[in-house]
Symmetry: C2
Subunit: 217 residues, 2 copies
Amino acid sequence: MDSVTALYRAHAESTVVACLSFHYGSKHNDREIPFAKWHADRLGIPHLTIPLAFIGEHFASDLLQSGREIPKGHYEAQNMQKTVVPFRNGIMLSVAAGFAESKGAGGLVIAAHSGDHAIYPDCREDFMRAMAEAIRLGTYANLTLLRPFIAMTKAEIAAEGHRLGVEFSKTWSCYVGGEIHCGECGTCVERREAFQLAGLPDLTGYLVSGPIPDKPD
Amino acid sequence: MDSVTALYRAHAESTVVACLSFHYGSKHNDREIPFAKWHADRLGIPHLTIPLAFIGEHFASDLLQSGREIPKGHYEAQNMQKTVVPFRNGIMLSVAAGFAESKGAGGLVIAAHSGDHAIYPDCREDFMRAMAEAIRLGTYANLTLLRPFIAMTKAEIAAEGHRLGVEFSKTWSCYVGGEIHCGECGTCVERREAFQLAGLPDLTGYLVSGPIPDKPD
């Protein structure tokens, strides 16, 4: 829901040359990517899926099909660390930078937000600032890395998406990647909490939708 | 010859967990990668080839099989700009960083050198400094990006490789990627010049080995 909202916002503000999904062997890639394509098609923006199968084969993370079970709990809880795919955003941003330079774009957009900061080092603003500098210096076009949601909460993103007409029932969060959202993994909990805090209806079907666990101290 | 020399040096100085080659659709990947593996095998270091076929399919560069003919001339001449693969080093370093973090390594090594600076933005020290910072901040292990040759010339790398016992006849430079080195493309010219300046015999077989073009002003 973050990336799709960022796409709608970028589309509203400027010309989007293309959007990229990455198939890297996570348990939920096959759920999230068709939705990404659905939104791109709706907006008339070319959508490409970049295969990064080597991540699933060689990297260590429970987010991957090669990993263990997805932990349950709050998105910012310590046990979510097992779902980190090492330097995933560095890899995705680098690929997107090379692609953007090849297509003559002026920059690229990532939808990392403040709720990601607790667990994911490659979602934090200090990482983004260094990566933005590397992308600017490492390209002829001096590409700009935009991170419009870096200081926003997921609830604020939900409100922004709602304003932009995003059909959230056609977005996928659940890391487990089953038939429907599990409702209990970190990212399902985060999703449910976001709609609740934003005061928006949550049309997602969840397998389990008990009380939302507290955010850790 | 730069990367292989960096591998020998890293092996002499510390424990090398693995080395990575990238198959990204360049004209010379199939020539250089078997040599990389040969050296890794000789040193007893695991060698992996990471496929990045999307670069050949979607990126714009004459280095790629999908591009036009490789230009002839000095490595630092302006027409070599066509052989830049956009943000290639950013992509390779990001993949290597994620891999290194997955394997519990403490850092990674790239063999970019001062002769690369004229044409390739993602070989310059200001890019490397920003990328190193992104890799440090974006990983739990705070990985270190080592660039031992960043201020050295290729002639100095040739001398260093010679000292370390690198068999340079089992390295590949030529961007054209034919049966033997063409002798006329930027990287062949750079290779010939390096051995000459280092005062070392050049055992490479070249298709054409006329006078070495002057370095541009």
